[in-house]
Symmetry: C2
DNA sequence: TATAAAACAGACCGGTTGTCCTGTTTTGTC
DNA sequence: GACAAAACAGGACAACCGGTCTGTTTTATA
């Protein structure tokens, strides 16, 4: 038996920012994977290794935690996944295509579709609480505006003159959201490529890409438990 | 004081089908408005005026009730709202347009967006339970197939020859699902019309409909409490 | 170093949840 | 009418949830 001279006088290090981040990390994943109502604070505390007192200190209520996740994490995810890639693309249309393909490739690689963080929470919480709804609606607005602004810039450069920016942005966001919804339910990311193909102007020309490249549907199984 | 000769020997009438229907009615509304996890069986029992014993007799578990709602009500809603109108339309494209416009008009009239029943439950339950996921995925498949079959029939009649049926169906369903998601979050049905306009071929022609007819956005407030 | 505030720990509580259980009434069947 | 099964009523219960509470430790400030 090893001797233990000092029972437990180990120092404790206060790391409010780190602890807050740890809670947000766990909550972000749990809210997306299981949803808001299905994620109990006990689960989050255990997963994050955080005491009840600490959790309550940083987030007085569960609602406050969810609002923080929406404002800080979901908005950032949309920014990183959609807005930034669209901004750096040559045109809005190319940006949209790039995001669709990047997400499809990522989902096929990781073999599991968790769905869109924004849409997941939007469906569950929009009607549950006005604060939730407003926070989520604002993210949608920013998402669409980034695309429509980009397309307007294209038009000032003489491209895409026949496309209405608002309509294009609305359709791009809606098609992506709906495609992710189906992909999540089917656990199959191929519907993303179907929708992208339909979004392209080339959807009007008969046999543009052919069927061979598109037919690689498969059922994906979850890689990690969570 | 009025005399009450017989304390309460009133007959009871067994109506298993009616009681089951009453429970499903209430559950369908509650699951859509508040979600599955946020709807307690106590709420449903109170709303339906059903005892716990009766509820448990027809639906042994909450999951069984939800599966019944999905199989019997959500599938029927998709059938009624989407599949039937598409089948009776002249073409698949006209059917899709008709549904978009009908739903948009209905939402604007009732002034409140509850969202798509299928997508609402799909987001909350797809990852929660394999049985839920499969049931919901099947409805999506039938939905898409109805559209793609219709478009294939159009093509055999010499129309829409440049459109891929699977892609068109996937995009139509995705655009609708995503648009309903945004409409629910924003409590504004106008995004449905934006997406419909983007779906039309006419999206490629510069000023086809003009802006005046489209700019009637407004924020809708809930009419009834629920 | 004195002191107050911030950060954290952990127990506790009232209310709710889904399910189960026992008992009673109705209904179909011989 | 006898009888078993179905239909229904309503209470009980253990588990769980979110929030609160008290107390301790760390940290910033003076």
């Amino acid at each position: 038996m090893t001797v233990r001279p000092k029972p437990r006088p180990q120092k404790r290090i206060n790391d409010p920012e780190g602890m807050r981040k740890k809670v947000l990390d766990v909550a972000e994943v749990a809210f997306q994977a299981r949803g808001y109502h299905a994620s109990s604070l006990g689960d989050l505390m255990a997963a994050a290794g955080v005491s009840g007192g600490a959790l309550h200190h940083h987030f007085p209520t569960k609602k406050a935690l969810a609002l923080a996740v929406i404002d800080e994490r979901v908005a950032a995810a949309v920014e990183e996944t959609w807005i930034a890639p669209v901004l750096v693309a040559n045109t809005a249309r190319e940006g949209v295509r790039a995001v669709f393909e990047a997400v499809a490739a990522e989902l096929e690689q990781q073999g599991f579709v968790r769905g869109c963080p924004l849409n997941n929470l939007a469906h569950e919480l929009s009607l549950a609480d006005p604060d939730f709804r407003l926070a989520l609606a604002g993210i949608f607005v920013g998402w669409r505006r980034a695309i429509s602004d980009k397309l307007r810039a294209d038009q000032q450069a003489g491209r895409e003159e026949g496309t209405d920016p608002e309509r294009f942005a609305a359709l791009a966001v809606a098609a992506y959201s709906g495609a992710m919804s189906m992909a999540k339910t089917a656990q199959d990311a191929s519907v993303l490529r179907d929708c992208l193909a339909g979004l392209e102007r080339s959807a009007l020309s008969p046999s543009q890409g052919g069927l061979a490249a598109r037919r690689r549907r498969r059922v994906l199984l979850r890689p990690r438990t969570l």
